[in-house]
């Protein structure tokens, strides 16, 4: 069976399990996969110890590093971005937020859509334009 890509798993994952915490979702997924904590530890080449995973599942650790979630997403074959959402690491941007930001003209926080090295954080509008500009350059190739 071909490996599912992240994007293909996104829509299916969005509707389910929305009320579960990250820990509850991880515990439920592991149970469904019929894996023990030790088996997960082995499957991750000991990157994620059974003790650490247990703390994650009990919501004692709520903010694991993204690379930990990425590894678990691969082992469980679930959407990585879903885990990232549950950890509060990614959010859906509302149109209101960009209006609010540009009207306040406050110093923007680190932008979060484009992978850059920047002297100063981009505003949402600048970041949107940059991504469109990159897409434009891509289309010229």
């Amino acid at each position: 069976m071909p490996k599912k890509t992240i994007k293909s798993r996104v829509s299916a994952a969005k509707d389910n399990d929305s009320t579960l915490t990250l820990g509850q979702f991880l515990a439920k997924t592991r149970t469904e996969k019929q894996m023990t904590l030790r088996q997960v530890e082995d499957a991750t080449d000991k990157e994620i110890s059974n003790g650490y995973l247990s703390q994650l599942e009990n919501d004692k650790i709520t903010k694991p590093s993204p690379h930990v979630l990425h590894t678990l997403a691969e082992v469980y074959d679930v959407a990585y971005d879903q885990l990232m959402q549950k950890a509060g690491y990614i959010t859906t941007r509302s149109p209101e937020s960009s209006i609010k930001q540009s009207s306040k003209q406050s110093k923007p926080q680190q932008h979060g859509r484009a992978a850059t090295f920047a002297e100063e954080a981009l505003t949402e509008q600048e970041e949107d334009q940059l991504l469109e500009y990159l897409a434009f350059l891509r289309s010229r190739k």
Partner: protein
């Protein structure tokens, strides 16, 4: 105002980044090759360097945008960006050549680190955005990847230990490893076994009252320095009237002689320290290292 720490990672993250850096070096057959062949690293990472300049006026004119001002401001702010979908790195063409290796690797990291590239592919494509804290963490990870690849794990540290301690050591190592002086000095201090630190200052600016002033960009220290001195308070700027400012090389000179200054450790004991300075066209570096404990000396920083 000093810049925030742009390198701090948890031990778990640091190990993971090291693993990915080692993987890239191995695939590029670059272990033990100095300076690290950056182009080979990019090639095995399937990342391409763009020839185009994002700030090119012709390109910008041909980009039909409703917000021309916004794209111009964005381009002015960024030094590098990677198009994750096309795996193309764009760099600011006005960058000094010493900065290029680091930036090429920094942008490559965003496209190589699995947990980053998979996410940027999503955020680039839809209305999702990373939490600012995570976006900053991704920046620190990318910078750590770049330095790990350039300095090849402990190779730099081992070689640095063979040099006589002082500002000349990182200057020589910068050439060997193909890094900027800034990167080499930071690496030198942060991995050295001695209690040492470096004050990175902005270039002197004319000051009516004092003659000149240098803003503090950041202070980097070794683990043993932190153990001994804890978190020292440093003023936001230095002038010729204070001991650090007095060490700044005079106009036209690149180095200043060795000076003695005093620092107070965690236990309240004053240590005589040695300070020596070096300047590039971008920053002034004041390397400080502890010599011995004294009972009386002037204090320039307090815990």
């Amino acid at each position: 105002m000093p810049k925030p720490d742009d390198s701090a990672l948890s031990e778990r993250q640091r190990q993971r980044i090291r693993q990915e850096a080692f993987k890239a070096l191995t695939q590029a057959d670059a272990i033990g090759v100095f300076p690290t062949p950056i182009d080979r690293i990019m090639a095995v990472s399937k990342v391409e360097l763009a020839r185009e300049d994002l700030a090119d006026e012709t390109l910008l004119r041909s980009f039909r945008s409703r917000a021309k001002g916004a794209i111009k401001r964005a381009v002015e702010k960024i030094r590098g960006v990677v198009d994750i979908v096309a795996r193309i790195v764009y760099l600011d063409q006005a960058l000094h050549k010493a900065q290029l290796p680091f930036l090429k690797l920094h942008e490559t990291a965003h496209a190589v680190l699995p947990w980053q590239k998979d996410l940027y592919a999503v955020t680039e494509d839809c209305g999702m955005t990373l939490d600012p804290e995570i976006a900053e963490a991704f920046e620190r990870e990318a910078s750590n990847f770049a330095t790990e690849v350039m300095f090849q794990g402990d190779a730099f540290q081992s070689e640095a230990a063979d040099y006589k301690f002082g500002i000349r050591a990182p200057l020589g190592l910068a050439k060997t490893y193909g890094s900027s002086v800034y990167m080499a000095v930071r690496r030198y201090v942060s991995t050295h076994h001695r209690a040492c630190g470096v004050l990175v200052l902005e270039m002197p600016e004319v000051d009516q009252e004092f003659g000149f002033r240098c803003e503090l960009r950041r202070f980097v220290s070794s683990p043993s320095f932190d153990t001994q001195f804890g978190s020292l308070y440093w003023p936001g700027f230095f002038t010729p009237s204070d001991e650090v400012g007095a060490a700044v090389p005079a106009t036209g000179k690149r180095m200043s002689g060795i000076r003695k200054i005093g620092l107070v450790d965690r236990n309240g004991a004053t240590h005589e320290c040695v300070a020596e300075a070096f300047t590039t066209t971008k920053q002034v570096f004041i390397l400080i290292h502890s010599q011995k404990t004294l009972t009386t000396t002037r204090v320039i920083a307090i815990m």
